[in-house]
């Protein structure tokens, strides 16, 4: 069972602030999500290596450089930028 403490811990790790009145709802939601995911554990399957069910290995890239993107394109989605850097403003 997911508790209020679990939710607060996960929120803290994700740097989210959770208001006290939201706690009950989020705890309930998380329990339901985990219960849903448990249906996978309940299913019977012959595959033991769930990590790599497609059996692929060693998909590599050769160490050959290609030109990078233009800086203005890289910064296009940035909320703000300064002198070619991404800018993270101090929170007030």
């Amino acid at each position: 069972m997911v508790t209020h403490e679990d939710v607060l811990k996960i929120a803290n790790l994700a740097k989210l602030s959770v208001a006290p009145e939201e706690l009950d709802g989020l705890t309930k939601d998380m329990n339901e999500i985990i219960a849903f995911a448990d249906t996978v554990s309940a299913a019977s399957a012959d595959v033991s290596d769930f990590d790599n069910i497609n059996g692929l290995s060693n998909v590599f890239r050769e160490d050959v450089p290609v030109p990078s993107y233009r800086r203005e394109d890289i910064l296009k989605n940035a909320e703000s930028s300064e002198d070619g850097y991404f800018l993270v403003r101090r929170r007030r």
Binding site: D63, V66, Y85, F86, R90
Partner: protein
């Protein structure tokens, strides 16, 4: 009470690949911010990482060079944490199946510092803090790293420094990294604890993050040891925490409290498939590996008869060791070659960076030719150094400075005449010699060498002078 240090290191080494670990952006150092970036290394949604083959090869080579077992079945995991230097909010690393395990690095004393593991991971971007804001450059984001984790086998600050030096030498030798601490391509996190001398229990440890120079590292360990001993002596406990070394104060400071100790929630990265290192791959990498610095050190002493201290200075950098071997090829005087490098050549390379680069105007072939003249008895030892200086000044071969006359030496009749002249010029020395002061002969011999500009054979000249001055 006497305390001893218990120390283990996590060393991050940037690999010398041309491209990043999961995309084809260049890893070149020192570019304008955010010009070596693409959607993969700035973590845009929907992008797919693809592992650089050279990263696996370098990491396995590093493992082989440090006596590790190579894991045939490695994989990559996500290490989750939220900080702006990681645009994805996770770092791709290896958690429970690293590429290399159970190795060691041997110190000069013969003591082995055990390695727990070596794994591959991506470097984070660089943060610049300015006026409370943070500027981010992701050029370094996605540059491949290996993290080399040692067991807590280190018992002194000297051992810690030697361990890092050894790692640096090994990694440079096998060519997996340039290991420049000043450019951040080698950085250490140091785990420090203390315990009463003779105890076999481990004390509570603290971790000092991101040491990027030897002097900071040794000062930080010393400070942290003293701080922990003070705490224990006054009956307090050491708190397990991460600390930062403050270069200005020379102190270590706590970075975060115990309450938000990290919980990285590792899980397998579903975007990346298994890494299977086959015996064939390992054999091929082994075959490509150059001789390690330890072996070379021993060989330089036996094969070339170099004193250990000289051999150490030469093997420290592979480029210099290679230069020495090329210059010493086939010579009867390898020690003269070593002295040429450690003397005149080193005196022109006054910084570590210059020695790393080792740009020398004299090719190893030209130095080999110069020493060849000594081997053949065509010039004397004292002429080697002065000729080499001229060669270094101009980049020209020895033949440009040694005339036919120089190379021919001095014929016996001329030498006798010159010796007679020298004795006549130094009547006091001759008188002293006849009075029993044998050393006075050296002054006259010096005059002979000066008159022949070093071309005379000193043994011959001494013989002739003894005859003349005794008479």
């Amino acid at each position: 009470m006497n305390y001893e240090l218990v120390c283990g290191l996590e060393t991050h080494v940037e690999l010398a690949t041309k491209t990043k670990i999961f995309c084809s952006c260049t890893t070149e150092f020192g570019a304008e911010p955010n010009t070596h970036c693409c959607p993969v290394c700035i973590g845009l949604p929907g992008t797919l990482p693809k592992l650089n083959k050279a990263v696996v090869e370098y990491a396995v080579t590093a493992g082989l060079a440090t006596h590790c077992e190579i894991n045939p079945d490695a994989k990559m995991d996500r290490k989750n944490y939220v900080y702006p230097d990681l645009p994805k909010a996770y770092q791709i690393s290896e958690y429970d199946q690293p590429l290399c395990r159970n190795g060691y690095v041997e110190l000069a004393s013969g003591k082995k510092i055990r390695l727990t593991r070596i794994h591959i991971e991506e470097d984070a971007g660089k943060l610049v803090h300015e006026r409370g804001n943070t500027l981010i450059d992701y050029n370094r984001g996605g540059v491949p790293l290996i993290e080399i984790v040692s067991e807590p086998d280190i018992r002194s600050i000297g051992e810690a420094a030697e361990y890092v030096e050894q790692l640096q030498a090994i990694m440079r030798y096998i060519g997996v990294s340039d290991c420049k601490m000043q450019e951040g391509s080698l950085r250490c996190d140091v785990n420090v604890s203390v315990r009463p001398q003779g105890s076999d229990r481990l004390g509570t440890r603290t971790e000092i993050k991101n040491m990027n120079s030897f002097s900071h590292m040794t000062k930080a360990i010393q400070y942290e040891m003293d701080r922990q001993i003070d705490l224990l002596e006054s009956g307090e406990d050491v708190v397990q925490e991460t600390r930062r070394y403050n270069e200005e104060t020379g102190c270590t400071e706590g970075m975060r409290g115990k309450e938000d100790a990290n919980d990285y929630r590792y899980f397998r990265d579903p975007d990346l498939v298994a890494i299977r290192v086959t015996d064939d791959m390992v054999a091929a990498l082994k075959a490509k590996m150059p001789e390690g610095p330890q072996k070379r050190l021993a060989r330089f002493q036996t094969e070339y008869g170099l004193p250990e201290a000289d051999a150490r200075l030469l093997i420290d950098r592979r480029r210099i060791a290679d230069y020495f071997e090329a210059a010493a090829k086939g010579t009867k005087n390898p020690r003269t070659v070593a002295n040429c490098i450690l003397g005149p050549i080193f005196s022109r390379l006054d910084s570590d960076a210059a020695k790393d680069e080792f740009r020398v105007s004299v090719s190893p072939e030209n130095l080999n030719a110069l020493v060849g003249l000594l081997d053949a008895g065509k010039i004397r030892k004292n002429l080697v150094k002065s000729t080499l200086e001229k060669m270094l000044d101009t980049g020209k071969p020895a033949a440009a400075f040694l005339s036919e006359k120089d190379l021919a030496g001095v014929n016996p009749d001329d030498l006798r005449k010159i010796c007679e002249q020298a004795a006549a010029d130094n009547p006091n020395a001759v008188k002293d010699y006849r009075g029993g002061k044998e050393k006075a002969l050296k002054a006259v011999l010096g005059a002979v060498m000066k008159m022949t500009r070093g071309r005379a054979n000193p043994q011959e000249a001494e013989k002739i002078l003894t005859q003349i001055m005794k008479a």
